[in-house]
């Protein structure tokens, strides 16, 4: 029992080391490639798949998050006579936490799964070995464009999710719950700062990096056969999901520390 736990722990540490090495190679290769003209068409193709085709599903996710928050939070606030403050609660929750996290989870499912399946199939059919055998670095050709596209587009997709969350929350508040719109926007503007929006969007950069790196790693290292590819997709989603939650916690703590450090200086500006 103890021996098997120990062996499992050692295996997990080795796996984490491999992922770390892969992430480092992917990051350094992407940094070198992002200024090379030949990489741009590859990145553009991935941007179309990762970004453009994800817009509808991300917007729907954002809208429902805002709408649900409005329905759920109204009763608590109305009980205290604070229903006009509903906008602050909805918009703050959407732009800081729920919009970025749920948009990233949706991307992990839609994009991460597809990346793992595509690269995993290439791996089991020896297409990745074929890339290597022709003297091309598969990290440069296959991973860097996907990583760059995710890094660039996840923050933008989060903006779409935020926008639709704000609109969805406002629509339910005005049309279903009958809240005064000018009061709703006045309190929202007072309660939600540019910092809140910025930190939510900035999270997208980290979430996108985590989704692309984990998904590509799982695809590159999946086992043989259809079962191996399927399992790699599942593992990629689970690992991406946990990474998003862990990164969200870490970024929330860091951003709060930064805010509290610089907040007293705001009055001087």
């Amino acid at each position: 029992m103890i021996a098997s736990l120990g062996a499992r722990a050692v295996q997990d540490v080795i796996e984490a080391g491999r992922l770390g090495r892969f992430a480092w190679r992917a990051a350094t290769t992407s940094a070198r490639c992002c200024l090379v003209r030949e990489t741009l068409p590859l990145v553009r193709n991935q941007m179309n798949f990762i970004g453009v085709r994800s817009v509808p599903v991300i917007m729907i996710t954002g809208a429902f998050v805002g709408m649900t928050l409005a329905v759920q939070a109204y009763d608590q606030l109305a009980g205290m006579g604070l229903e006009e403050h509903l906008g602050v609660l909805i918009n703050l929750a959407v732009v800081k936490e729920l919009g970025p996290v749920l948009a990233a989870v949706m991307l992990a499912g839609r994009v991460g799964g597809a990346l793992t399946a595509e690269l995993g199939t290439m791996n089991v059919t020896e297409q990745i070995d074929a890339v290597r055998s022709m003297g091309t670095d598969p990290i440069r050709y296959l991973v860097a464009p996907r990583l760059l596209a995710c890094l660039l587009l996840t923050p933008i997709l989060i903006m779409y999710a935020d926008l639709m969350g704000v609109i969805g929350g406002a629509m339910v508040s005005f049309l279903q719950l009958g809240i005064n719109s000018s009061a709703y926007w006045k309190f929202s503007a007072a309660g939600v700062e540019l910092w809140d929006v910025s930190i939510g969007v900035a999270k997208g950069f980290f979430f996108g990096g985590a989704i692309a790196t984990i998904s590509c790693y799982k695809g590159f290292n999946c086992r043989q056969g259809a079962h191996g590819v399927g399992q790699a997709c599942t593992e990629a989603f689970v690992a991406s999901f946990i990474s998003i939650l862990a990164l969200n916690f870490a970024l929330a703590a860091i951003s709060k520390s930064i805010y509290l450090t610089f907040w007293p200086l705001k009055s001087l500006v």
Binding site: E126, R132, S133, M134, T136, I139
Partner: protein, 287 residues
Amino acid sequence: MKRQTDQNERADAGAASGVHIEVRNLTKKFGRKLVLDNISLSIEKGKTTVIIGPSGCGKTVLIKHFIVLQRPSTGEVYFDGRRIDRLSERELSRVRMHFGYLFQEGALFDSMSVAENIMFPIKQHFKDVTWRQVEDVVKAKLAMVGLDGFQNYYPANLSGGQRKRVALARAIALNPEVILYDEPTTGLDPIRSDIINELVLKLEKDLNVTSIVVTHDMKSAYKVGDRIVMLHNGKIIADGDADHIRHHPHPTVQQFINGRVGEDDLAVLRMSGAVATSQFLPRDFQQ
């Protein structure tokens, strides 16, 4: 410094002796499984070496070491006298341009057309070539494998034999010095197998390449091979020309080249057959 000098001496010796690829004391393990066991082998320039052996004996793993798609657990790999198994992936990229690799299932990029597949290595390594030049190379390579006119097809629309020929056209796109064929005739009918054999011979003659063919098709091995090496349980058990192999005294070699099942395997089959018959008669499933 001394090590560098040793390597330079080996490089000179290798180049002078006409040895193109060499592995020394190569051992490969996957976990605890020993796949290649202390193999030493030299491949001569301009010759066709065929590696035969039963399925799962490590033939593919061995040729993947020649191009360092697999790294040895222990041992050394040399190309033109230069040790390559310790090079970084970036350094290996330049070495691999000297190789063409025909994968067992072709490994064509299924999202690309036939033309795009063949263009891939050219566009990766030669940035200044014009579109017209690339198209001409694609046409010439496809003509060499008898598939000119298939430029706009996708791999999914090709037969198994056509896919292998397109993969071969892609493998020779950079005019390699060495072509590695991983089971080029597996899964093909006898006529298409012979077309592939003829192509191997034609490329050897036209391009003067060093060819290494992994196969368990003896007809193909005798036809294309200047030298035949047999692997069994991760070791080389026979090495020589076709006549040497035909008359080799080792019983495993004779059993393999004549396609005969061994007494041990037959005993297992008889036993499992007896167990199956005794356990699963149709009447056992009747109510």
